[in-house]
């Protein structure tokens, strides 16, 4: 026992353990959300969806898909910039892993409670856009290039409202630490969405744009750019992007839950139960938001790139700024 304690108190050992846990979470979350997307979209479109894989309900569809992806030939186009082409999917996935690190799953249940948690999350999440840009640039394909450039244009448009939307919650909590924000909501007795509904809405819209999902999937835009920056990717590199998209849906929803919906906390649940029920509550809230994202995707068409820009600059950013002023006034006078 002593040996184990001393082993896990070793910085490198505990780091490896935590990283492994996060790395295992990503395929798991990716598969759960991927399956949910398949089944929910089928329900919304009067279809059945995956049915045969795994014997029942097609529950093993995503596993079968994963195995299939690994069997595929790893194609790299002749024109491609090989090292950049290879690094891009890794970079996208790494940013997803890094966000999961700062999400509090329960009281004290957090991989790393950074003082600047939310700041870290926002900085890291834009790393995935760099990966997307790299993928688009290095593929040696005009559709990929246009997809990558659209992603870069989108980054500038939505990153600002995303950051500005978060500021309201940070001002109310007085801390940037993710667990600190949840604790502040517990001591306040209400989730911040009550006051920060504008911020919450803006955050969710900007998160959809960050994920480049419909209605903001211009970098992929299947009917225009074939598959955008993903056009030339196949096999496990494509799988990386695929997993990163679903895991990112989860992590951005989890951030939204932490900042606006009270994280792992539900009113009326005592402190000692919360230690065990916390992760479940957080997952439930997160999957609710993920469901909304899936719902949006199968209901809405796609915006045009310039329409996203005008939405971001003319509506979201002024609204977010007004929200900050209102929050400041609330903080000072009440």
């Amino acid at each position: 026992m002593d040996f184990l304690t001393s082993l896990f108190s070793n910085f490198w050992v505990s780091l490896t353990g935590k990283l492994l846990l996060v790395a295992l979470m990503i395929p798991l979350i990716g598969m759960v959300i991927g399956y949910a997307e398949m089944k929910l979209s089928a329900k919304m479109q009067a279809r059945v969806g995956p049915y045969f894989a795994g014997g029942r309900w097609g529950w093993a569809q995503l596993i079968a898909d994963g195995v299939k992806f690994f069997q595929k030939e790893d194609l790299i186009p002749d024109e491609a910039d090989r090292p950049v082409f290879k690094i891009a999917p890794v970079l996208v996935l790494v940013s997803t892993v890094a966000i999961l690190v700062i999400i509090p799953f329960g009281p004290g249940l957090i991989f790393r409670d950074l003082e600047v948690g939310i700041f870290f999350a926002l900085a890291i999440s834009s790393l995935s856009t760099v990966g997307v840009l790299m993928a688009g640039w290095s593929s040696g394909n005009k559709y990929s290039l246009m997809g990558g450039l659209r992603a870069a244009g989108q980054l500038i448009a939505y990153e600002l409202p995303l950051v500005l939307a978060v500021i309201g919650s940070v001002m109310l909590a007085g801390t940037m630490s993710m667990s600190g924000i949840v604790e502040a909501q517990i001591s306040a007795g209400y989730p911040y969405v009550v006051l920060q509904f504008i911020g919450f809405g803006i955050f969710m819209i900007a998160a959809l744009a960050e994920l480049s999902r419909i209605p903001f999937d211009m970098p992929i835009a299947e009917s225009e750019l074939v598959m955008g920056y993903l056009t030339e990717y196949s096999g496990f590199r494509f799988l990386f992007f695929f997993l990163a998209e679903f895991a990112n849906m989860f992590s951005l929803s989890a951030i939204a839950v932490t900042l606006f919906l009270g994280g792992y906390w539900l009113p009326g649940i005592p402190e000692d139960v919360l230690a065990y029920a916390g992760p479940v509550i957080l997952l439930a809230k997160t999957f609710l938001l993920v469901f909304t994202m899936i719902w949006f995707r199968w209901t809405f068409p796609r915006f045009r790139e310039d329409q996203l820009q005008s939405l971001a600059w003319k509506w979201l950013i002024p609204l977010a700024l007004a929200n900050i002023i209102l929050t400041g006034a609330f903080k000072v006078y009440l």
């Binding site: 479109q45 009917s223 225009e224 796609r302 790139e305």
Partner: protein
């Protein structure tokens, strides 16, 4: 050559007016592309997201039907022509058969004419439902596809019940129609007519299609993003549309009340009460909306035709070996995609001497270089989709 001249002109202009020299990119959209409806190729010269010169390249699907018709007999040609616009295969047969009958001077029984009319309108409904399915998909919305295709299946099932084919009915005969029901051994005397219960089932299906169209309108027409993507995009003024020979719902969306069903007499449309929906601005939205309204009008026509269908024979007396007398004629019809015409020249043989096929999509996409000048890349897809063409109808 045209492309080169445009390039030279553009380069000479840009070197004068632009200080920072940027290189244009030639984007090859198609022939293999998710939303070119087959094998259309667009060579677009783009500057970032803006396309300043788009040239369609066609011919990837040329099957030489006009030439093939010269070595086929008249009854054999229906198999060819219903592969022209395969989304509404039935509607292609009628004007060709009517052209042959016109030269032969055959009077088609009224019941056969009514059946032709009902099926033509059902082909129109199924064609427009395909448009209702594919157009939102091109704008990024996948769900309307399934709702529209489900209803289309209802209509196609009925078409199949009568003709034996979903896409390629091959159902018209010179002098009448030939239902699949009862066909077979020629020694047995079987009355050939519509399948039992067809009229009741059709009435039922038309009510369901009406409901589905309302549902589609709710799903698509009230969507802010669809409106933002289609209103004021790809405006086609009526005079330009007429100059390029655009026809069908595309020109009606520009506000021109031009419908061959009211002008020509290839089928007894004058007996029915229906309206010609027209658009106001001629933009993508109007082209979508006009087609939606046309489905409702077609359902109205089918309902009236079911109520008023006369009894009688389905086939006029025709000789066993059909030789069309010398002469030439042009029959045009209002097909789902626009004006479909056959210019038939006969020199008295069993097959035509020359058959010129005027297909709607060919003329409709001739507008592409004009209408796509200076639009954004996403709008290329939105405008192209709104013109609703089928490559088989373009290349023939």
């Amino acid at each position: 050559m045209v492309l080169d001249q445009d390039l030279v002109r553009h380069l000479s202009e840009s070197s004068v007016s632009v200080e920072l020299q940027t290189e244009d990119m030639t984007l090859n959209i198609g022939p293999q592309h998710p939303s070119t409806h087959g094998v259309l190729r667009l060579v677009a010269r783009v500057d970032g997201e803006r396309a300043f010169d788009v040239q369609p390249v066609i011919g990837y699907m040329h099957r030489g039907y006009e030439k093939l018709s010269e070595v086929r007999t008249y009854p054999q040609i229906t198999t060819l022509v219903n592969r022209i616009d395969w989304v509404a295969g039935y509607a292609n047969e009628v004007p060709f058969i009517v052209a042959a009958e016109k030269l032969l001077g055959i009077e088609v029984p009224e019941r056969a004419q009514f059946i032709r009319l009902i099926l033509t309108e059902m082909a129109r409904i199924s064609s427009h439902l395909i448009f209702m399915a594919s157009y939102p998909l091109e704008l990024g919305a996948a769900t309307p596809l399934f709702f529209a295709l489900r209803e289309r299946e209802r209509v196609l099932d009925l078409l199949e019940g009568v003709t034996g084919g979903r896409f390629h009915p091959n159902f018209n005969r010179i002098g009448g129609v030939k239902p699949a029901y009862g066909s077979g051994s020629s020694t047995r005397k079987v009355i050939q007519d519509l399948p039992a219960g067809f009229l009741a089932e059709t009435r039922d299906a038309m009510d369901k299609v009406m409901e589905a169209v309302d549902e589609l309108e709710l799903l698509v027409a009230d969507n802010e993003i669809i409106l933002a993507r289609t209103k004021g995009i790809g405006i086609l003024p009526p005079e330009v549309a007429a100059a390029y020979g655009v026809s069908g719902p595309n020109i009606r969306a520009s506000g021109v009340k031009f419908d061959l069903r009211k002008v020509e007499d290839y089928l007894p449309y004058h007996l029915f009460d229906f309206e010609i929906p027209v658009g106001e601005n001629g933009d993508c939205w109007d082209r979508w909306h006009v087609r939606l309204l046309e489905i409702r009008q077609s359902v109205r026509i089918v309902q009236q035709a079911i109520d008023g269908i006369p009894s009688g024979p389905l086939q006029a007396k025709v000789p066993k070996v059909i030789k069309v007398p010398q002469g030439e004629t042009y029959v045009r019809a209002e097909n789902p995609k626009g004006e479909m015409g056959y210019y038939l020249v006969s020199n008295g043989n069993q097959g035509p001497y020359r058959l010129k096929i005027r297909s709607a999509s060919f003329s409709n996409i001739s507008i592409l270089p004009w209408i796509l000048e200076g639009v954004l890349v996403p709008d290329i897809i939105a405008i192209m989709g709104s013109l609703d063409f089928v490559l088989g109808d373009v290349d023939r």
